[in-house]
Each structure stands twice: as C-alpha cells, then as structure tokens.
Amino acid sequence: MNCDDIDRQMEAMLDGALDQQAERSIKTHLSFCPTCQSKWEQLKGLRSLLQKTTTSAPSEALESRVMSAFHREHASERSVGTRWSISSLLPSQAKPVFAVLLIAMMIAALTGAFILGRVTAKPLAMIPPAAPSKDAASPQVSKSPVDPERIVGGGLRRQITAVHSASFRRIPAKTNRQEPNLIESFSSISKAGATYSTTTALPGFEPATGASARVIKGDEKQ
C-alpha cells in the first residue's frame, strides 16, 4: 500500500468506515511515513476544531409551536372522524361517486314510492258499480282461481264482471296461475278504463280469436 492508497483511505478510517484489517495496514504505514502521518494529524486536528463549535439550542417557543401543531392535528382528526365516519373510510377520489350514487338511490326510492302510491290508492275505490250486462250471464270470472277482491278490492271486481264473457274462453287449469299479470291488468284497466290487450287478460281466461275486451264503466251505456 503506497501513500496515494493511504491518502484515499485515511478519511474513511477517520469516519470509522474501514474494516479492522484495512485500519491495521494504514496504521502500520503511518508509523514509518512522516508525510502521511502529518496528513493524518491534520485530519484529526480539523475534526477536533469542528467539534469545538456548538450551536445554541432552539428556543422553547419552537417546541411549543410544534407541540401545538401536533395537538391541533389530532384534535381535528378526532372531530372529522366523528362527523364523517363513512366518508372518511372512502378514498378521496371515490367520494364524489359515492355522493352521486346516494342521490340516485334517493331519487329512485322517491319515484318508486310515488308510482306505488298511484297504483294502489288512486281510482279503484272510486269506480262506480258497473251496470249488469245482458251478455254476462255466465259468471265465469267468479270462478277464477284468484279472488280479485282479495287483491285489489270490490270496485275492481265489479268492473271485471262487466267484461263481455262471450269474448273470452277458459284456458286449461295448469296454466291458470298468473297472479303478477293480474295486478298489471287491473292497473291498466283503472287507468285506461277501456279496451285492453291479451296481456292484461284475467288469469284463467284468454281472449277469443280476434276479440277484444271492453270494460264497461257504471255510467257507460252498452
């Protein structure tokens, strides 16, 4: 190891970044090389000089500022956590999407409630009793497996019995049960109050070929 090698490694030895073997080699060199010994002394002297200087401590005001910031931060975290516990769980990018979904759900719920209210409450009880028809001699509707009165009330039952029975034929019992369509057909009747299609036929019956049903209101003349 020559003087250039020692010169390169001397600072690393000063900084404690050399292994023991390398340190031993350098110390051996220093013991017989006055030039390197002088440089080593200078390095140590510089460190000693630097370490004689100290800085004053930071002011106490700094500590109180930092601690106040800490308390402020954690106080605000607590209050935010109480008020916005759900939204705080969401990532910030998802919050607008969450808000839109929430509004959409509220609108859907209100619309559903409005439609349900119109379907179930509005004109059914208001429909006057239908005049008995001469053609309705055969009370086939009353033989339906579903009791309309049980579902929608007596007003509608009277209306259904006014349908021309000649326009319908009975369908086999195995396909009779269509309760959801029954409600659909009743709503159509109550709103339109007139001709309706096969999809609105009473369960247990289907329109005869080419025929259409006509609902006869109480104040209408056949």
Binding site: E11, A12, D15, A17, E41, Q42, L43, G45, L46, R47, S48, L49, L50, Q51, K52, T53, T54, T55, S56, A57, P58, S59, A61, L62, E63, R65, V66, M67, A69, F70, H71, E73, H74, E77, R78
Partner: protein, 197 residues
C-alpha cells in the same frame, strides 16, 4: 436494531396521537435538526422555521416515514434539507452568507471558564462557522451531516439523494477547503489546544 425498533414504536404511537411519544421524538431530534439547519443557514429564526416544517411533516404525514429506509433523524434531515435548498434557490445565497455573531459557543459550560478562554473559543467558533459558510451548499451539507450530525456515509447519501461515492468526494473536498481556510489554527493546533486548556 433495538434503537430503530424503539424509534418505530415511538413513531407509531405518535401517529396514533400519543403526545408523550411525539414529545420524546422532539426532544431526541429537535436540537439535531435545528443544528443542521442552523449550520446550513446561519440564521436562528430561519433554522427554527425549517425545523418546524420538518416536524410538521412528521405530524401530518407520519406514513411517509419508512423505518427500512433509515432512522427518524435521517428522515427529518432529508425534509429539512429540502426546505433549506428551497430557500437557497429562492434567495440565492443571501441566507447562506448571514451569520449571527452571538450564537456560536465553544463549550456548554463556558460560565466556568476564564474570559480569555471564552474569547478564544468564540473567535475560533466564529472562524470555523465562517469557513463552513464559505463551502458550497453540497459540500457544506456533507460536512455538517458527517461532523456534527455524525451520520454514516450511507445515511448522508440517503438524506442528500446521492451515491455514497459522491458523498465521499464532497466530504474530501470540503475537508480540503476547511483545512486551507483554517490552516493557522491547524498549524498551531497544539498551541490552540494548550490555550484552551
């Protein structure tokens, strides 16, 4: 390893809002971060602002600290360095050249020393501070982090975002400059040391 796990535990407690854990962290590192900032900037009030900013990051974004990347001191020094160099860029070298005359002290217990020793120590400290202030910012931070903060080469490299080899070169050049600037004190080193005793 135990020191690092201790630091990590303190950091976790502080992140959960434990004021005593955070206070412990401040008392461990507040002075050292301030010392680094002051030796870089040489103005007390600005050094305090930089120290405060470093701790604010610790308060507001504790998740940014990763124990596997280094110690809390390294993390704080890296934040402080960011602010220091921001000031350098914003103000040129205006901050760099200012020195408070009454800040550097030779020994903490100077009240027990005789006036001549205090005077010599103050003069020496002012000279050393001036010599450090004349270094380039990159050399200055290398020498401050090594000599005063006692960080290893690897830690300095992490703080300064540089390679270890680059850190060694900066340190070498900084020491050469300081040795030239402070040659009178080094050449009469034994004499100075005797006078200070």
């Amino acid at each position: 390893v135990s020191k690092q796990s201790d630091e990590t535990a303190l950091m976790e407690m502080a992140a959960r809002g434990d004021a005593s854990a955070f206070s412990e962290l401040y008392h461990r590192y507040g002075h050292r971060v301030y010392s680094f900032a002051y030796r870089m900037l040489s103005v007390e009030s600005v050094a305090e602002d930089v120290t405060q900013e470093a701790f604010l990051v610790l308060i507001e974004h504790p998740e940014q600290y990763r124990s596997e990347r280094g110690s809390v001191l390294t993390f704080l020094c890296a934040i402080a360095r960011h602010h220091i160099f921001h000031l350098f860029r914003r103000r040129g070298y205006e901050v760099e050249m200012g020195f408070d005359d009454d800040v550097n002290q030779t020994e903490p217990d100077e009240s027990e020393q005789d006036p001549l020793t205090i005077l010599l120590g103050q003069e020496l400290s002012a000279e050393v501070a001036a010599a450090i202030g004349e270094l380039s910012p990159l050399q200055r931070e290398a020498i401050v982090l090594r000599e005063f903060q006692e960080l290893s080469y690897e830690e300095i490299a992490r703080v300064t975002c540089a390679d270890v080899s680059v850190v060694k070169v900066r340190l070498h050049r900084a020491r050469q400059s300081l040795a030239r600037r402070l040659a009178p004190y080094l050449n009469s080193g034994r004499k100075v040391r005797h006078e200070l005793r």
